[in-house]
Each structure stands twice: as C-alpha cells, then as structure tokens.
C-alpha cells in the first residue's frame, strides 16, 4: 500500500449562504500527480485553500502525512511541507525574483541584514536543480506570466514544499509554456518524489500529466478515477453532464434579419494580450446563439467589446445596422442593446443603492419618471419598480432595501428584470444563472425564451453547458479567442461539445470539418 500524503476526512466548508465543499473524503498518495477537475464554482479551489490553511473547514478533518491538522494557517501549512501556487500569483511586482523566492525565510548577514547575494545564489541553485531557469535579479513585474509562475513554484520549493498545489496553472500560459510546466512537474515528481495536486478544467491536460483524477461538481466529489482508465469524453461527461431534468421550453417563430454582426473582431484583455482573434459572428432576430467556452477563452472580452465596456483593437461591430465598435455603453444601449453582465456584483448592480434604484437605471430620464427640474417622480418610480418586482417574482424585503441585502438569485432577477424591460432588439446575456438556485434558474430561462419568441436577438454565454444546450438555437464553441466550431443542439452530444471547448480542434480537424459541414 502506498504512503498517503494528504487525507481529507469528511471535510465541509460553508461560507455565508454557500456550501462550497460538501462532505469530501479523499486521499492523495505520495509521489502522484492528482488532477482535480470541475466546472467553475465546483469547490476545487476552496478545498485546496483549506489544505493550505487559508480557511478553517466548518466540518471534518485534514490529515497531512498521518498527522491531523490542528491549526489552519499558511504558516502551519508551509511548515508541513505544503506549497501552493495560487491562481492569482502571490508575488510582489517591484521585488526581484530572489526577493520573492526567499520571502519569510531570508538568508541573513550579521543576523540583521538581508543577504541578497546568498538569496540570489540560492535561487539560482534551486532554479538549476529543478530546471526552472529564471534570472534571480530580474524584477518580477517585468517578467512574463509564464516566468512569474516559475517564481511561484520556486518560492514553494524554497520553503521546502513536498506537496505542491497548482491552482489552474495553465489558464494563463501559452501552449509552449504549458509544455515546459508539465516537464517540470514530471521531473519534480520523478526525481524528488514530490506530490502534485493540479486544479484544471482542461481535460487533455489531465490525460497528459496526471496519475489520478478527482471530479468535483457543486461542492461534492463525484468520482475519483485512474487517469489511464478513463477517456477524455468520459471525463467531460462526468464534469458537465448531469442529465437534463427540465422539460423542453416552448419555441416559436423563425429567425429574422441580422441584428448583430461582428466582423474580424480583435480585442485585448487587461494585460494587453490578444483575447479575441479576428472573430466574426452574426445574430438574427428571434434566435438564441449560445457561446460555449471554458472560462478565460476570450468570451468575457468579446461580450465586453460588443457592449462597449472594452475597446476593440480592430474589426467592426454592427448593431441594427449602426456602427458600434468603440462606442460607449450609453450609445450602444441607444442603438437597441441590453446586457445582462457576467459579474452582477461588479457590473450589474450597485449594492448600496436600493432595489428600486437598481431597477430604474437606464430609464431614469424617461418623462414618466422625471419631471421638471430633473425631479424624480418617486411614486411612479415606486409603482414601476413594484411592478417589475412582482412580475419577476423577486423575493426580498421590498423595493426600498439595499440591493446588497438580496440573495444572489434575487439579485440576478433584478438585473434580468431591468435588462429585459428595455425591450431592445438585441439582448446580450452572460452567465444568467451563475450562483442562482434551481427555482430561479427555471424562471430566468423562461424569461429568456419568451424574449426569443417575441423576436429578440439573443447572444447567450454560459459556463453551464446544460443551460447553453437548453436555450440555444445555435451554439458556437470558443477556444483561445477563436471559434472552434458551430453546431445545433440536436446534432451534437454535450460530451462532444466539451471536447471542442477544451481546444481539440487542432488535433481532430477532420472530425470538426465533418460536423460543421
């Protein structure tokens, strides 16, 4: 029997209102590469944060090398040889590589002074030992993301990590960098006997690097498999595929004229990297076009560019025949577009404003709500807000309370209610039911379908494949800012779609051709 490095014993983690981890029991063997896969919000990161001591589990225990953890803190975790490379790097940008690597265990001169020479020496030695070549004196903020990741790994190694947690390490890497990372992982496992836990949602990576794989969904551990014994397709179906429980929604009408057209659109992300590459798509009245993509493949940037929240580097956007590239959101809304954004708290509402104020925005200048001297007609605003509140079945302490006091699902209904009430020819919807309870999901889906049947052109983007399948008339898959395929829901299986979303077009170009044509 192999040595057990870490054992989770009925671990649960509850945040206010969310059960992020639900009774998880799992053993990680020493010297293996264990992959943890699941959709966004499945609880993978939370589980690993518990192991690294960033939270204390509400229930259950964690055993490391046969000892029960009594204190949950990063310090204690580091002492037990656990290292973590966070999804958002924990590096100080203005510091040198060596300074970041040795932080908290600095080599010293005369007991008091930081010995930068020794630090750089140690960093260099470490980087040579593990084949992670990086200049110890370089400033971290000026390094590429791939190199920054190496610094993170070096940091964990320097602190004496025997177990390394990598939280979506490839999400920010180029394919070449990913290959390099994997060879490093193989080497540390083979030569140093380290244990690696890898969080990812790219399935081919699971096949490429891991020995075993655990699949999580909605806070639960669904299955643990030997990687060799499962195919990518099986993994995809385990990861995304609960059977559709909902009944079919009623569709009526035929697609009409083109309402939204993007041509050769190129968009940069926040870091200035190309997120959307020369993408073209068109959307007709009375249809729902679904975008299926794993997080971080350019869908957020695409939607932001279409709605005016982000500038386009090149290409054109037409909305109802008007040129909309690089217009402000206000101008684009005036052309006839409404938008349910992916992150409702950051973009979709003002938590501190009241529910009524959140429902009103966008029409607050309409004559029925604004009188002479800009006076806001509170009674008609209240009546209007009450109407939407009733119609969209928002549950909360009324329209006067602050929006932040509503639950996630009801807050989402506020956004949906507002954006649907504009009755615009084009509606862009992103993650309409993220973090929303089942009842509200059904309601929101019905609203979206009603809009489609009324002839609205709808672009839908969701991480939830069931949702995309259920609502869409057409589906496109997006991988690294490019469309990898276009399908209709009834000609393709969900598992197959998951396959295209994880970037398999290149490998099986033939199959892709066969399906699209």
């Amino acid at each position: 029997m192999e040595e057990i490095a870490v054992r989770f014993d009925h671990v649960s983690m509850e945040f206010p209102g969310v059960l992020a981890n639900d009774d998880i029991s799992l053993s990680i063997r020493k010297g293996e590469v264990f992959a943890l896969v699941g959709e966004n919000g499945a609880g993978k990161s939370t589980l690993m944060h518990l192991l690294y001591g960033m939270h204390t589990p509400t229930n259950g225990e964690i055993w490391v090398k046969g000892e029960r953890l009594t204190e949950y803190s990063p310090k204690a975790a580091i002492q037990r040889g656990i290292g973590m490379v966070h999804q958002h790097f924990m590096l100080v940008p203005s510091f040198s590589v060596a300074q970041n690597v040795v932080m908290s265990k600095e080599p010293r001169k005369f007991k008091l002074f930081y010995d930068w020479k020794a630090a750089e020496e140690k960093t260099r030695a470490l980087s040579q030992e593990y084949g992670l070549s990086v200049d110890p004196s370089a400033i971290v903020g000026e390094l590429s993301v791939g190199l920054q990741q190496r610094v993170e790994i070096l940091k964990a190694l320097y602190r004496g990590a025997e177990l390394l947690i990598l939280d979506e390490p490839t999400a920010v890497l180029t394919p070449q960098e990913t290959t390099e990372l994997f060879s490093v992982i193989r080497r540390v496992v083979r030569e140093k006997g380290m244990t690696v836990i890898l969080i990812t949602h790219k399935l081919y990576e699971v096949k490429a690097i891991s020995d075993r794989v655990g699949i999580m969904r909605k806070g639960r551990l669904i299955a643990v498999k030997d990687t060799a014994s499962v195919t990518e397709r099986e993994l995809a179906s385990l990861m995304v595929g609960r059977p559709v429980l909902y009944e079919e929604l009623e569709r009526s009408g035929q697609p009409g004229e083109i309402r939204l057209a993007a041509k050769d659109l190129t968009v940069y992300d926040n870091r200035g990297l190309t997120a959307v590459k020369k993408l073209s798509l068109s959307l007709r009245a009375g249809e729902i076009l679904g975008i299926a993509a794993i997080e971080g493949n350019g869908q957020s940037e695409l939607l932001e560019a279409l709605t005016g929240l982000r500038s386009c580097a090149s290409g054109s956007i037409g909305i109802c025949g008007q040129q909309a590239a690089n217009c402000t959101p206000g101008e684009i809304r005036a052309m006839g577009l409404a938008h349910i954004p992916e992150d409702r708290l950051a973009t979709g509402v003002s938590k501190d404003a009241s529910v009524a104020e959140n429902l009103l925005v966008g029409r607050h200048k309409a004559p029925e709500f604004r009188g002479a001297l800009g006076y806001q007609k509170q009674s008609s605003i209240a009546r209007y807000a009450e109407g939407l509140f009733e119609k969209f079945d928002i549950r909360g302490a009324g329209i006067a309370v602050s929006a932040g006091s509503l639950s996630g699902g009801n807050l989402q209904k506020v956004v949906v209610a507002r954006e649907c009430s504009f009755d615009t020819p084009v509606l862009i919807i992103s993650q309409p039911t993220r973090g929303v309870d089942v009842g509200a999901i059904e309601f929101i889906h019905k609203q979206i379908m009603d809009k489609r049947n009324e002839g609205t052109a709808i672009l839908l983007c969701s991480a939830d494949l069931d949702e995309v399948f259920r609502l869409s008339d057409r589906i496109i898959t997006l991988y690294e800012g490019e469309i990898t395929g276009e399908f209709t829901p009834n000609t393709i299986e969900k598992e197959e779609l998951g396959y295209y979303m994880t970037g398999n077009r290149r490998k099986e170009a033939g199959a892709h051709e066969a399906i699209t044509h």
């Binding site: 929240l309 005036a334 509402v349 003002s350 938590k351 104020e357 009103l360 607050h364 800009g374 602050s402």
Partner: protein, 362 residues
Amino acid sequence: MKRSHINTPYLLSLSLSILCALIIGALILLVAGFNPIEAYGAIVEGAFGNGRHIGDFLEYAMVLCLCGLACVLAARVGIFNVGGEGQLILGAIVACQVGVWMKGQASWLVLLCAAIAAMAVGGIYAFLPGILKVKVKVNEVITTIMLNTVAVCLCQYLAKGPWKNPNKNMVAATDKLDAEYWLSSLIPGSKLSTAIFTAIILTLLVWYVMTKTSGGYEMKLTGQNPRFAFFSGIKTDRLILLCMVISGAMCGLVGMFRVYGAEHIYKSSISNDYYFEGLMIAMIAAYEPLPVVGLSVFFAILKIGADELQYIGIPSQIYQIIQAVVIFSMAAQSGILSWLKDRGQKKQARLAAQVRGGGKDA
C-alpha cells in the same frame, strides 16, 4: 425610496461620539485644573450670550456647511476634493481684486462679477486635478494637497506683490473694498451678512439636486459603483469632472462670501483651514447633506463659544480637542463594531473547536 444614511443607528453613534468627546474634553479640563461644567456653560453662554456671537457662529456655520457640501458633491461621484482650501482662498483674492478694480461701478454688477470670477477661479483650480484623475488616473488626493500649497504661495505673492495694499506695509493684504460693496450685515457688529441667504438657497439646491433629481441619482450610482454606472449608459467621466468643477466653484464662492460678507479685505485670515474642517464634517456626515448642516452648526457653536473661554482663563483650544475626538470616534465606529463581532465569532469558533476536539480525544 429609502432614507439612506440618516437613520437611528447613525444618530445614535453620532450622539455617542459627541458624548464621548465631551467626556474626554471634561477629563482634560479636569486634569488641567479647570471646572468642566463651568467651561461648557461658558461655551453655551459664549455662543448664545449676545447677538454678535450668534451672528458670528451662524457665519462660521455657513462657511463650514458650504465647504462640507462642496466636498460632499465631489465625494458623491467618487472623487475626493481636498483642494478646497486652495480654491477658497484663490476665489477670495480674485473676488476681492475684482471689487477693487471695478471701483465706482454699480454694486450689483460688482457683486455679480466678483461671484462669477470667484467661481470661475475655484472651478478651474478644481478642473486640473479632476482631469488628471479622469484621464491619467493620478491620485486626486495628493494633487489637490499639493495645489493647496501652490495656491497659498500664489495668494501670498499676489497680496504682497501686484495686488498689494499700499497702506499695509507688513502684512500680506489687498486693498479694502469700498463699503458700498459690502454685503449688508444682518446683526450689527457680527460677521453675519446677507450671504447667508445665498448660502441657504445653495444648500437647499444641493440637497434638492442630490436627493430628489435624476442627476443626483446618477451621481450616487457613479460614486457607488462607477463600472455599473458606465455600463448603464451614464457618462461617468464627464459627470465626475463636472462635480469636481462645481465643488471647486462652490469653494471659490465661499471665498467671495468671506471677503464681501465678513472681512472686506483679502488677508491670510480669510480662511484658517476652514475647508479641512468642512471636509471632516462631510466625512463624518457620511456625505449626506442634512447631517452636514447639523454638524456645521454644532461645530460653529463650539468654536465661537469656546472663544469666550479665554476670558475665564481656559484655553479655547479645547474645542479642537472635542472636535477631533468626535471625528476619531465616528471614523472608527464601523471598525469597532466589526472588531467586536470578530472577537465574538472567534470565541465561538474556539469553543466549538474545543468541543469537537474534546469529543475526538475522549
């Protein structure tokens, strides 16, 4: 819709803070060997004792209130105007000089021109940090602090150099205004002038715009979540800049009021960090107009009343101590509350862990 911040908990914590400040003030007075009850009595007596003092504290309250509201206007949209002091004194000196230049003209014309000039100068002086914030994302707090000092230097230069009053050799001051341009005094001997009517109208206007109109609603949304406001189609950059300029113009106008209503000349006592006091009031009023009015009156009473303390041998600075303690405790109240809550939770968690651990061991 909701009555946002002015609610019972707010009033409660404000009263507690004031009480706490008065107690600390009393302790300091006791330690220094004074009778606190006598001192507080003298403050009230000093503020309300005669008409002149009532006029003075009303004038002071007007200045604080307008400064506070100027700060509130900018803060509502998420830009922090710390440069009001500079805008105020520049407005004052320009308004005063306009009055000197236009000697002989009709008084309504002079007053109008002076007000416009003061507002324009204040507005322009606020526009600079505003545009740097909106376009270049330079921290407006730091730039406005720097610009304050630049304004002080500039006014010193003007009052000692080109606009100098030839009769005042030593101090930096401009020419005195002709008495016909003075805003008429409401209470003889006090600084209170008809400017207070304009100030009241202005206060009502700010309150109306901020709480009753769609413009105020857009401002509020922009300040709360600028991304959401932009997403909703509000031209956030323009709104932020506009509010900053109006805030500056208001400060300039306060400067004009100080000159035409109270001092009738520009000299360095035209403002003694009055804007900073207004800014602190705005902050502890949680950027709501009505508490700004109330707190301005309260602090003005304290200040003018405390001036009388000197005559019974108690240093008047006790008022600044009391004011600072009120601000300390108001600023820290949410921190104190969450700290208490945190402690409670930790205690619970520890207890729970003990129970769980005990169960396992047994």
